[in-house]
Symmetry: C2
Subunit: 254 residues, 2 copies
DNA sequence: TGAATGCCTTCTGTATACATAATGTGTTTT
DNA sequence: AAAACACATTATGTATACAGAAGGCATTCA
């Protein structure tokens, strides 16, 4: 109470125009409302989003750094197109950096309490899997636990720089740890991946506890590669692919 | 001739105000003219650099994404301060990504001609080392060959995404492949590192040629760690440290 | 003497005006 | 009919004006 913000809602101030523009633009791009290769007209976005050109431009610069859009030589920006190879590479890069994070955690050691938090995530996921129903709420619980696990691991690396880079890489929607979760739920043949993924989680916690850096690293790399299989399956099934965030940015091989 | 730009100089148009602001600001930060933690006053920079606030602001956003500055919660930006641990981590991240690049090159294979280019760099560095004089021009030749080697490797990975991330990580001046080159030249005990570094180069080319992915990866990781030793030596010697780009950003342990 | 408060200065976030360059269209010419 | 050219429209890059908020300083009170 005494620490409450002066505003009415607890610590929730109205988002700046720049944040509004950034979120709106990202949503338009990831959802596919703006097609790959298409030029992003600033004035059109001003009309569409309702902010002036200045914050919109700031958002465009940030999105360019994020890798979602690219500069047009003659000026302005266009929505980027990603080949299937680009997506695989982005996943591999994420896996490599998550591997480094896991190794750091193992080598540098983590507090017992934080290890317990990791195990909690694993247990939660186990519960969802064994239930088997995958109802909407189960699914949400899985998603949250999975994201919490990956976020925790990032923090346990003890490296703000690594954390930064990982967040960057994961900002490509299809490269994030949860990119294919919805697809997994939809595809029966993908569901079998869930227990394997959680076994990876379990193993990496053990490795961290035992200070086995190389093992922890290898497991997280392989863990990311589970996304490969999901991606390949999704690419063969348009309905499932539509469940993958940012799928509209992927240029199918002709 | 027929392909020449309409401008007077061949394909060299005057840099935009945004580019001017970006380069000027980066120089001010890396050189230490703006101290770590110091707030960057936009109006002061406008006076100092001679561009208006708009392109200056664009440059600030880009520098924030690069990691050289950080947002102040109450608004504006401040020059970032890096701990020694941050620098080590940044080097490890670069090594990890260069390792991935080398592995990709090995696994995916590269044209014989590109391999020859890599060997050319190695040979050039050999020449400089055996000469032993390390005159100004020898030194420049070494620097060029070293950078060309690392740039080539990045390209040979065949992954634009990886290339992008590597360029990003290397944008932290003290994390780049050539960060400690000047320090190496100045410190006699560091010069012994040069032949070792080039042996790494040679070995990684062999590994790539023989399609030995794991070996190529391990070598490049270890190669980056040579920077560790240089960094530690430089940190004990202020005069040498001043030769390292961005050293002003490193907050010495008290 | 130290701390708190109120005012003033300065800064950032945003909107908008303006100039130059690019793009697209319609017409004309071959 | 196709290509090229010229013009008009619209785009982006840049500068600047304005409002609200943050920070510093001096003054005052305990």
């Amino acid at each position: 109470m005494s620490l409450a913000e002066p505003s009415d809602r607890s610590s929730e101030r109205s988002p700046s125009q720049t944040v509004t523009a950034l979120l709106s633009l990202r949503e338009l791009i990831v959802s596919g409302a703006l097609k790959s290769g298409e030029r992003i007209s600033e004035l059109a976005m001003v009309d569409r989003i309702g902010v002036s050109r200045t914050p919109l431009r700031t958002a465009l610069v940030k999105l360019e750094q994020e890798g979602l859009i690219e500069e047009i030589p003659s000026g302005g920006y266009a929505v980027k197109a990603f080949s299937e190879a680009d997506v695989f590479d982005a996943i591999e890069i994420r896996g490599t950096l998550e591997g480094l994070a896991a190794r750091y955690a193992a080598e540098r050691g983590v507090a017992t309490m934080r290890l317990a938090e990791l195990r909690e995530c694993v247990a939660e996921i186990d519960t969802v899997i064994t239930a088997g129903s995958l109802s909407e709420e189960d699914f949400e619980a899985y998603l949250r636990a999975n994201e919490r696990f990956h976020t925790l691991l990032m923090e346990l690396s003890g490296s703000p720089t690594l954390r930064r880079e990982l967040e960057r890489v994961s900002s490509l929607p299809f490269a994030s740890a949860s990119a294919f979760v919805k697809a997994e739920a939809a595809l029966p043949e993908s569901r079998s991946i869930l227990p394997i993924a959680n076994e990876h989680h379990r193993a990496v916690v053990d490795a961290i506890e035992n200070r086995e850096g190389a093992r922890a690293e290898a497991i997280m790399r392989e863990h990311a590669r589970l996304s490969y299989r999901n991606l390949m399956m999704a690419l063969r099934n348009q309905k499932v692919l539509d469940l993958v965030p940012g799928a509209a940015l992927i240029r199918r091989r002709s």
